[in-house]
Amino acid sequence: MDLATLLQVLDSTIRLATPLLLACLAGLFSERSGIYDIGLEGKMLAAAFGSAATAAVTGSVWLGLLAGIGSSMALAGLHGLSAITFRGNQLISGVAINFLAAGLTVVLAQDWFHQGGRTPSLSGGARFDAIALPLAETLRPVPVLGPVYAELISGHTLLVYVAVALVPASWWVLYRTRFGLRLRAVGENPEAVDTAGVSVPATRYAAVAICGALCGLAGAYLATSLQAGFSRDMTAGRGYIALAALIFAKWRPWQALGATVLFGLLQAMALRYQNIELAGIAFPGQVMDALPYILTVVILAGFVGRAVPPRAGGEPYVKERKI
């Protein structure tokens, strides 16, 4: 493989990893606070539709981004309502949200745009432009480093850089702020946090809201950066891969970056090569597709490392429960 091909594959790795990373960080906040979220997929899809529809109507990608985050946060609120206030089953709520988004986006898209459940193609100010980093073209002739800088590091849309910046930011919020400490504690031992006079529901709602906002970014990226508009089921299982990456990363931000880049690379490889030959054995593309899921099962089974979820995950908190 020559440098140019390698750069192309890595470039598409970054593009494909970005929505995974955003959704993975979203799940990280929610699950660290003890709220399981298998509705990442649905929230991304709602955000993709919300952002594309608004950008198509207004011509402004910024309004689209806001609408995308809003749609995703509305579903996050619904998840919070059922999981926190009404102490419902978080997994069932997540399944319902995935269905709600899958159905509602197509019904509304058909009603608003009459294009078979798609939004019109976005162009110009309705999409995020690629950003050329300073000196990208000047440095291009420099061997190896030049093309790497110009092709790989420069030339992505704003949301890609935001996603990368969110990794240290998430780490800082979770491990270096009072809020982060409480958020993690609520996911491990809500009774202790409650005793300390901190509201468990409020902390969990905050976490779920952050999750909604990040899923909103992920969805908006899909519809306004990676592609030009919304099409039905365009998230194509990314929410579930993000969930897999979250387990792979053992619910930690930097590892989330690593896991999503790895899964992004697998997707990029599967996209580029129908069959991959390694050490004389031909791997069909379907193996690459399935690899994130297989790896997750292996990790979950504890054969390689052990992924231990937050202790209070999935359990609604009932104040002063009599046992």
Partner: protein
């Protein structure tokens, strides 16, 4: 803690939840500028107004009975099996392998063999997450989700590279032989003098589904493994003290659950398509969750809920055919049903509990 009577728990709460879901669905229909009353009329006449409509309604219902029972059996053991999709996909592979393996002389021979293949493959696909949950503590929801995707990739590979007949373009298996053709409800009803539509795909699998309902009822409430499954679902420590082996019980529950999900393929693969195609499950594995929730995990409830969802499916298809309302509207309705009967159950239950408490005090 039992503040509400059993009938309210089993009938009233699901009905109220259903009513809220229906109301919101009506608002969605209004929101896209259509008339909800006309829509419901069209759905009823399209799904129940003719034997053709009934044929489709019962065909879909057959799928949902199997996947609903699958979710329900796992639920009784305290397991949330959202792997019905993958288990039914593998069940389809089992059906196809059985049907293609031999030149079957008659469906009466092919049906039991294919059902066995479907059940075995479905159970095998559920066995791995079950074992991982029981032995390695991996969360069954996550592993079954992963197994859904792995099943899709596996089937994709097999259809493209292995099962596709030479020279064929689309990724599907060869057609099954004539001897595997299952009698449709038309064939079954004709000797009784009932003129049932010839075009509808409902077939003898519906009777198989009814038998499965009965079998699940007997299993859960009338056998020792069923008792152990329920005991484990109620309280794992208590089950442990009672000498119930959790690993064995989890395995039994998931094997039965996977087998039931797999059996769905008899209806779709053998009864309707008569060859294995991509995505023959079409989301029925997930609808099983809604069906089990609405049916309160009881086979009779599952049967009724499955027929309701069959009606929604067929009615929704008619709507999409004759109006501007897309087929996805039924996905929205389904989501609302799952939301209100499952996740927001307490929203309906809490005020009702308070109401019954107040009524009880008034009487005393």
């Amino acid at each position: 803690m039992n503040t509400i009577p059993k009938w309210a728990d089993l009938v009233l709460i699901p009905l109220i939840s259903l009513a809220i879901a229906a109301l919101l669905s009506a608002l969605v229909i209004l929101g896209i500028g259509e008339d909800p009353v006309a829509a419901v009329k069209m759905m009823v006449s399209g799904a129940l107004g003719s034997t053709y409509g009934w044929g489709y309604t019962l065909y879909y219902a057959t799928n949902f009975i199997f996947t609903g029972l699958a979710v329900a059996v796992a639920f009784h053991a305290g397991l949330f099996n959202i792997g019905g999709e993958g288990q039914a996909t593998l069940g389809g592979l089992g059906v196809a392998l059985v049907c293609l393996a031999l030149p079957w002389p008659h469906w009466a021979l092919a049906l039991p063999a294919a059902a066995l293949g479907a059940a075995l493959f479905g159970a095998a696909w559920a066995a791995i997450p079950a074992w991982l949950q029981a032995r390695r503590g991996s969360h069954i929801v996550i592993t079954t989700i992963m197994f859904n995707f792995i099943a899709a990739s596996l089937l994709n590979y097999l259809l493209v590279n292995v099962l596709r007949p030479a020279g064929a373009m689309d990724p599907s298996s060869a057609r099954f032989g004539e001897g595997t053709h299952l009698p449709t409800l038309h064939d079954l009803a004709a000797p009784l003098g009932i003129a049932f539509s010839k075009a509808a795909p409902a077939n003898i699998s519906f009777l198989l589904a009814l038998a499965a309902c009965l079998a699940v009822w007997l299993l859960i409430w009338r056998t020792r493994p069923g008792y152990e499954i329920r005991a484990l679902g109620h309280s794992e420590p208590a089950a442990l003290y009672a000498g119930i082996h959790p690993l064995r019980t989890v395995m039994w529950a998931m094997l039965i659950s996977g087998a039931l999900a797999g059996l769905m393929a008899v209806n779709t693969v053998m009864g309707e398509a008569e060859r294995l195609v991509m995505n023959s499950v079409g989301g029925a594995g997930f609808i099983g969750i809604a069906v089990a929730l609405m049916g309160r995990n009881h086979p009779l409830g599952v049967l009724l809920a499955a027929i309701l969802f069959g009606f929604l499916y067929q009615g929704g298809a008619e709507l999409a055919l004759w109006t501007d309302i897309p087929r996805e509207l039924i996905v929205v309705i389904q989501a609302l049903v799952i939301l209100f009967t499952g996740a927001l159950d307490n929203m309906v239950r809490m005020p009702l509990e308070r109401l019954f408490l107040a009524l009880g005090k008034g009487r005393a």
